[in-house]
C-alpha cells in the first residue's frame, strides 16, 4: 500500500495484504500461465482430433483440496488481526477518548475537558475538521453521525469505520509517527462528499496539551 502506515496494527494489515498478494499472485501466474501455454500448445492442427476425456476424479479432488486449504488457511490466519483491530477496544482508563461527529460535509471533534470524561460540560469543541492526538498513545474515537452515513477513513492509520446516525460506534488506533495526515469520507453522503477532508495531526504529548489549552482558551 503506497500510503505509509503509522499505526501499530497498520503493519498487521500490510503484512496480510502482502501474504494474500503472494498467494493470489502465485495462483494468478499458475492459471494464466497454464491458459496461455494450453492455447499455444493445443491450437488447431488439421486432421488431429482432441483427446477424448470427460474428466478425472483424482485431479478434481486435488484442485478442490489445495485451494480449499489455502483459503481456509488465509481465513484462520487473519482472524487474529481482525480481533485485534475491531473486536478488542483498549481500556478507556489508559486511552484518550475523543468524540467525532460527522455531519454533511464536515467532522466535529470534541475533546474531554479536565475531568477526562466526555459528555460533561467542560468538554472542548475543537475546530471543524481538525483533530490532534498525542503520539504513541491509544486513542478511542467515538464516531457518530448527525444526518446521513459517513465513513471515517484515515489511510495512514489503516482505519475505516462508517459513521451511522443513531448508532455511535467506537474505533481505536495508536499513532507511532508525528506528522499531519488526511482524513477522508468514503461513504457517499451527498454532493459535498468529496470535500469532507479533515486533518489528523499527531503531535508530541507536550505540544498536544499546549494545543488543547490554546483551543480551550478561544
Amino acid at each position: 500500500m503506497t500510503v505509509e502506515s503509522i499505526s501499530t496494527f497498520g503493519n498487521e494489515v500490510d503484512s496480510l495484504f502482502l501474504i494474500i498478494l503472494i498467494v493470489t499472485g502465485f495462483a494468478f501466474v499458475l492459471t494464466e500461465g497454464l491458459l496461455i501455454y494450453f492455447l499455444i500448445r493445443y491450437r488447431h492442427r488439421d486432421g488431429s482430433k482432441a483427446r477424448y476425456i470427460h474428466g478425472n476424479r483424482q485431479v478434481e479432488i486435488l484442485w478442490t483440496l489445495v485451494p480449499g486449504l489455502m483459503l481456509f488457511g488465509l481465513a484462520i490466519y487473519q482472524t487474529g488481526a481482525w480481533q485485534l483491530i475491531r473486536q478488542i477496544l483498549p481500556a478507556e482508563s489508559e486511552a484518550l477518548v475523543i468524540a467525532v461527529e460527522a455531519r454533511q460535509f464536515e467532522w466535529h471533534p470534541t475533546y474531554p475537558g479536565a475531568d477526562g470524561r466526555l459528555g460533561t460540560d467542560d468538554d472542548i469543541e475543537a475546530p471543524i475538521n481538525v483533530i490532534q492526538v498525542p503520539v504513541n498513545r491509544k486513542v478511542i474515537v467515538r464516531l457518530s453521525a448527525d444526518d446521513v452515513l459517513h465513513s471515517f477513513f484515515v489511510p495512514a492509520l489503516r482505519v475505516k469505520q462508517d459513521a451511522v446516525p443513531g448508532r455511535p460506534i467506537s474505533l481505536w488506533f495508536e499513532a507511532t509517527k508525528v506528522g499531519q495526515y488526511e482524513i477522508a469520507c468514503t461513504e457517499l453522503c451527498g454532493l459535498g462528499h468529496y470535500r469532507m477532508r479533515a486533518f489528523l495531526t499527531v503531535a508530541e504529548p507536550a505540544d498536544f496539551e499546549a494545543w488543547l489549552a490554546e483551543i480551550e482558551a478561544r
Partner: protein
C-alpha cells in the same frame, strides 16, 4: 433543488418514448413582469425617509470563527475572523440591520429591477452578510473561493434550493418568487458561513453599513409602517407619514444588556 438537465447528446435515443417529461426547467422559474401597470413615482411629489440605527448598552463579545479547516481562507484574515451577528460601529450605530416598508404600499405594483443583486462568497464568508432583493429579481451567487461552496438558502414561502459551486468565479442565478423577511442562508461545507436575504415586492429597503445610516428615497406620499430587522436583537416597527416632497428623519434604537 438545482435542476440538472442532461445534455441533448444524451437525448438522441433510438427508443421513442412518451415519458411525461417533468418540467426540468431552470431553477426558480423567472416569471414575466407582473400583469398590472408598474407604478411610476412622480419625482416632484416623492418624499424620503432616512435615519440611523442607534445602539446603546454593551453588545455581546464577537466570537472568533475557527476557520482552521480552510487554511486558504484563514490566511486572508490578519486578525482572526469574527462572527458578524452583532456588529457595532464606532459611532455607536448598528450595522447589518435590514430596513424596509412593511405596509402602506399594498395597492401599488412595482416592476422587477433588471440589474441583478449579487451575493459573493469570498474568504469563506458571504458578502454582504445581510442582503435585500425584490421578488423575482435575479440574484447572482458568485463563488470567489478556489474550492466548493454549497449555498443552501431555506426560504419558507418559496422553494428551498441547494446548489454547489465547485470552481472559482462560478456564478449561478436564482430568484425568489415570494416575499419573505429574512431567508437564512448557510453553506453545507462551511457551517460557520451565514447570511440573510430579505425579499420584498417593492424597491423600498436598505441595509445599514458601517455608518449605521439608512435611506428610503422617492417614496410616494402616504402613511407607512417601517420595520427595522436585526438577526440578534429582533425587529422594531415605526409609523411614518410622508408628505409631498417631504424628507422624514427618524431613528431606531436597540439596547444591548
Amino acid at each position: 433543488m438545482s435542476s440538472h438537465q442532461i445534455s441533448r447528446w444524451m437525448c438522441i435515443m433510438l427508443f421513442l418514448f412518451a415519458a411525461a417529461c417533468g418540467g426540468g426547467g431552470e431553477g426558480g422559474a423567472v416569471e414575466d413582469d407582473e400583469a398590472g401597470a408598474s407604478a411610476v413615482v412622480d419625482p416632484a411629489t416623492a418624499g424620503r425617509v432616512s435615519g440611523t440605527i442607534n445602539f446603546t448598552g454593551t453588545a455581546p463579545e464577537p466570537q472568533l470563527i475557527q476557520m482552521d479547516a480552510e487554511p486558504v481562507c484563514l490566511e486572508q484574515y490578519d486578525e482572526g475572523p469574527f462572527t458578524q451577528d452583532v456588529v457595532v460601529n464606532d459611532n455607536g450605530t448598528l450595522a447589518n440591520v435590514f430596513i424596509y416598508v412593511k405596509s402602506g404600499l399594498e395597492e401599488l405594483e412595482f416592476s422587477t429591477p433588471t440589474e441583478p443583486a449579487v451575493l459573493d462568497q469570498q474568504a469563506c464568508r458571504y458578502h454582504p452578510h445581510v442582503l435585500g432583493i425584490q421578488t423575482n429579481q435575479t440574484l447572482i451567487i458568485r463563488n470567489s473561493d478556489p474550492f466548493l461552496h454549497n449555498i443552501h438558502p431555506q426560504p419558507v414561502n418559496s422553494r428551498p434550493f441547494n446548489i454547489s459551486q465547485p470552481t472559482q468565479d462560478m456564478e449561478t442565478e436564482r430568484s425568489f418568487p415570494a416575499a419573505e423577511i429574512m431567508i437564512p442562508v448557510s453553506c453545507d461545507v462551511h457551517s460557520w458561513m451565514s447570511a440573510y436575504v430579505g425579499v420584498v415586492d417593492h424597491p423600498y429597503f436598505d441595509v445599514t453599513g458601517d455608518d449605521g445610516a439608512f435611506e428610503l428615497p422617492n417614496l410616494p406620499p402616504g402613511e407607512y409602517e417601517i420595520e427595522a430587522w436585526h438577526e440578534f436583537y429582533g425587529a422594531q416597527t415605526m409609523n411614518v407619514t410622508v408628505g409631498e416632497g417631504e424628507s422624514v428623519e427618524t431613528e431606531f434604537t436597540y439596547e444591548g444588556e
